[in-house]
């Protein structure tokens, strides 16, 4: 059974149709890359999954449980939305770390607030230990007491990845995770994502890094004008694109090189 089923998601901003009916599914441990030109709706799709935008139509199902149904949305309370969105983690293009807290506190803040409200929640020590483990995974254990402003962009993004993992999401989403980084810092972030794939993390990656998308993905979605223009394995989409729009996009992407 698929861990995620997205069915016919539509989203308008005023009169602009940004998403015109998006459907796809994701298996556990699978990595999907979403590529496409700016304005094709990639980011909006991710934001819909994370409840930062509310789709106008469609359903989102995680592990067989419908967590969003546009025809039924009035019934959802704030608490339910919060619970449902925790199925997803989101790594932002601009990191969005909390500048006034140390790296460690960035990872533990939300978790501590959540566990405090549970009857037998984790202790602070357990949460800290888990956070340190995550920092170890992204190679930044020695930076636990630093503040975000003391880190490079690449390091900040790795902290942001660890922070997203701290809430144990079923699916980790990346919104152009390397677009704000120098080429030399991009590599260290992509390496972390690759390691996550090796440990079977289920991921959706919106990216402009074509080489990386081809390399890391099990499935590639090419979006254009709010629809999924083409979907398939990286080999299918990158090497033998069927759609004219996909071909055109790739010829544009590579013509300057």
């Amino acid at each position: 059974m698929s861990v995620l089923n997205v069915n016919n998601i539509k989203k308008n901003f005023g009169k602009v149709e940004v998403l015109k009916g998006i459907s796809f599914s994701l298996e556990k441990g699978e990595v999907i890359s979403i590529i496409g030109s700016s304005g094709s709706g990639k980011t909006t799709l991710l934001r819909c999954l994370n409840f930062l935008e509310t789709p106008d139509k469609g359903t989102i199902t995680v592990d067989g449980k419908v967590i969003f149904d546009a025809d039924n949305k009035k019934k959802m309370s704030d608490a339910e939305i919060r619970e449902n969105r925790l199925n997803f983690g989101l790594v932002f293009q601009s990191f969005n770390l909390f500048p006034q807290y140390t790296v460690l506190k960035n990872l533990t803040l939300a978790r501590e607030l959540m566990e405090k409200n549970k009857k037998d929640g984790l202790s602070k020590q357990q949460i800290t230990d888990e956070a340190l483990e995550l920092l170890e995974r992204v190679g930044l254990a020695d930076k636990k007491d630093s503040y975000p402003c003391q880190l490079s962009g690449g390091q900040q993004q790795r902290v942001a990845i660890a922070r997203a993992l701290s809430m144990k999401p079923a699916i980790l989403c990346f919104d152009e995770p390397t677009s704000a980084l120098d080429p030399e810092l991009t590599g260290e972030v992509l390496k972390v994502i690759k390691e996550l794939k090796e440990s079977n993390t289920t991921m959706i990656i919106v990216t402009h890094e074509m080489g990386f998308a081809k390399n890391v993905s099990d499935k590639v979605i090419f979006m254009a004008d709010g629809i999924i223009e083409e979907v398939g394995t990286p080999e299918e989409v990158f090497d033998n694109p069927k759609s004219e729009k996909t071909k055109h996009f790739f010829s544009k992407s590579f013509e300057n090189i």
């Binding site: 994370n50 409840f51 930062l52 704030d78 919060r82 619970e83 969105r85 925790l86 997803f88 983690g89 989101l90 932002f92 601009s94 969005n96 770390l97 909390f98 500048p99 006034q100 803040l109 939300a110 607030l113 959540m114 503040y147 975000p148 402003c149 922070r163 997203a164 701290s166 809430m167």
Partner: protein
């Protein structure tokens, strides 16, 4: 009229200066936050109402507002409702709360949407996001303009004398009736010392927030 007599009288006036200053801050700082949330409300009628109110309060001289608070209830009801001192405090609190509210609003709106969204995707509630993430960043940003207002307040307290509160300037002016002008100039020393202490204090607080850049 020796130097010590004058100094003692001015210190007597300084008590009112300090009292107006402290009461205004204690009441106006939180009230300003309430007004700020009102003017940022998504409920348009409330937001327009608050914005009109802020326009009126910021648009009319504080001295006139003090006079209005003291005299107008008397005209309307035949007797004053507030004492002299209470009408000064009421006018000052409302006036300063409006100025503070605009500083708060500017500070809150300057925090990037990404900070709210980062809290949201981590499952935090709106209140948790405001108090645990946003507030401290706002405080850091608004400290310089707040310090400005607080320093202005020190000197605005002199307006209380329009309803015959004997604050420090009025205390000095009382000597002018005896032909003594120097006590008036002498008050400057008190103001300078007061503002000097505040400047050091705010500098100290700003330094405390310097450990990170936003």
């Amino acid at each position: 009229m020796g130097f010590w007599n004058v100094t003692l009288s001015l210190i007597g006036g300084l008590k009112y200066t300090c009292l107006i200053f402290a009461l205004t801050l204690v009441l106006a700082l939180p009230l300003g936050l309430v007004i700020a949330f009102g003017s940022m409300s998504k409920f348009k009628p409330l937001s327009y109402l608050i914005k009109t109110f802020v326009w009126i309060i910021r648009g009319v001289p504080l001295m006139l507002q003090v006079i209005i608070f003291f005299y107008v209830p008397g005209f309307l009801f035949g007797q004053p409702i507030l004492t002299r001192f209470a009408s000064v405090i009421a006018a000052f609190v409302i006036n300063y709360a409006c100025y503070f509210s605009e500083i708060y609003r500017g500070g809150i709106e300057s925090i990037s949407k990404g900070q709210y969204e980062a809290g949201q995707v981590l499952g935090m509630t709106k209140l948790q996001i405001f108090f645990k993430i946003i507030l401290m960043q706002v405080v850091k940003r608004i400290l310089p303009p707040i310090a400005n207002e607080v320093i202005t307040l020190v000197k605005d307290t002199a307006l209380a004398r329009v309803v015959m509160i004997v604050e420090i300037i009025q205390a000095a002016q009382n000597f002018a009736a005896y032909g003594l002008m120097w006590p008036l100039f002498y008050t400057a020393i008190f103001y300078l010392a007061f503002v000097g202490i505040l400047t050091l204090l705010f500098g100290h607080i700003e330094k405390k927030f310097n450990y990170y850049k936003a």
